[in-house]
């Protein structure tokens, strides 16, 4: 049964980082600036977060999904970044994060 659950990533907005410290999460951000290997971006619920170890020279679209480990209240260490295009409803995604960690979390984790 291991194959089914190996390495899951929890849907999270920045508010949930505190809850998932040290764990693998999945979020979508609006790309801001790129500085010294860190990507500064807007989390689905609004705050700025920094994402470490983003692979350089990667061409990002405006919205990027980041899968990574929570290192701090506003910091992620990136494992996988996926371009989510230039048109994405962050608000809707934020609502999903809330639902997936609230009343309906049993179908996600």
């Amino acid at each position: 049964m291991d194959a089914y659950t190996s390495n899951p990533a929890l849907l999270a907005n920045s508010e949930l980082f505190r809850r998932y410290m040290g764990r693998r999460v999945r979020t979508v951000v609006k790309v801001g600036r790129f500085e010294g290997g860190n990507l500064y971006a807007q989390a689905p619920d609004g705050p700025q977060i920094s994402i470490r170890q983003v692979v350089k020279n990667e061409e990002f679209t405006q919205f990027v999904e980041v899968i990574g480990v929570v290192e701090g209240e506003n910091t992620l260490r990136s494992e996988v970044c996926t371009n989510f295009g230039d048109k994405f409803d962050l608000g809707q995604f934020n609502t999903l994060c809330q639902m997936a960690n609230g009343a309906y979390q049993d179908i996600f984790m």
Binding site: M1, Y4, P8, A9, V28, F88, L96, I107
Partner: protein, 297 residues
């Protein structure tokens, strides 16, 4: 194009699929060959949007290929996730789909002549998001999905949409199943068959869920006549006879076996129910007057 097929197609299929009034043609083949083909129709569903987590925790009857999620029989499903470990062979393309709630193996058979399909599959690369439509099955004890369609996601709101839809269907099923259990089988509130009737009163959702699942586990072979004419005991006895494992027994079930499994009912109640079901033509006596078998077998 993909956004059309994704968003509209998804809601079209999803909306139609999980609604209880719909039934999928496949169900009848896999579950009830022959008579009583309406059986389970109201409970089975067409195309259900799910998370891999739900698939991995889907319940399965012994000696039966059917899966149940939230008490719904699951045949055709749609998943959205990332592709890993893609392998192309002459006859098929397989990969691991990871939706970050879990991972599951997906296989798409290649119809050699259809080059358009091949081109589409070649475009599926590791690390991209896809939506798949497919059939859940179990092979050598491992669950996997045989896909009818694997399409790359181009508009990523579809990813959000898929999970919201999965939540919606989950919530819908939990709600209706609870509602149905009350309205379709009024007797169930009066008969403490579960052994702890108070559990259905508790506000704890997980307990409710378990109660519901227990109900549905008994219910999938619902009686093919108006439920009002069949009381709870009869319905449950009939469901027992319709369980695939019991259909497979040549001489059918002995009255005592049935009575033993019908916790909460007296032997006389069970006998009465059996007599009723015989008279209505749902079951018949086999090697002697104590053995009965479903006419659906």
């Amino acid at each position: 194009m993909y956004s059309d097929s994704g968003a509209d197609g998804g809601s079209l299929f999803g909306g139609g699929g999980f609604m209880p009034s719909q039934s999928a043609g496949l169900n009848d083949n896999s579950f009830s060959p022959g008579g009583g083909s309406k059986k389970g129709g109201s409970q089975s569903s067409g195309l259900i949007p799910l998370t891999v987590k739900q698939l991995s925790s889907a319940s399965q009857k012994p000696s039966d290929d059917n899966f149940y999620v939230d008490g719904q029989e699951v045949n055709n499903i749609t998943l959205v996730g990332m592709v890993f470990n893609k392998e192309e062979k002459v006859t098929d393309v397989s990969f691991i789909l990871d939706d970050f709630t879990g991972r599951i193996e997906v296989k798409k058979w290649i119809d050699g002549q259809d080059s358009e399909e091949l081109v589409e599959l070649r475009n599926i690369r590791n690390g991209i998001y896809v939506r798949i439509y497919g059939h859940l099955r179990s092979f050598q004890g491992k669950r996997n999905v045989v896909a009818f369609s694997v399409r790359p996601i181009k508009e990523f709101d579809e990813v959000t949409f898929h999970f919201v839809e999965a939540i919606y269907v989950h919530a819908f099923n939990m709600k209706t199943q609870g509602g149905l259990a009350g309205s379709r089988t009024p007797a169930s509130t009066a008969v403490p068959y579960s052994g702890h009737p108070a559990s259905s009163m508790t506000p704890n959702p997980s307990v409710n869920m378990r109660t519901n699942l227990a109900n549905q586990y008994m219910a999938p072979a619902s009686v093919p006549v108006g439920s009002n004419s069949v009381d709870e005991c009869q319905r449950r006895v009939h469901a027992l006879f319709d369980e695939p494992a019991n259909l497979a027994i040549e001489q059918g079930l002995h009255v005592d076996d049935v009575a033993r499994k019908m916790v909460g009912y007296s032997k006389q109640q069970v006998k009465d129910a059996i007599e009723f079901l015989v008279n209505e033509g749902f079951i018949y006596s086999t090697i002697d007057d104590d053995h009965f078998k479903s006419t659906n077998g």
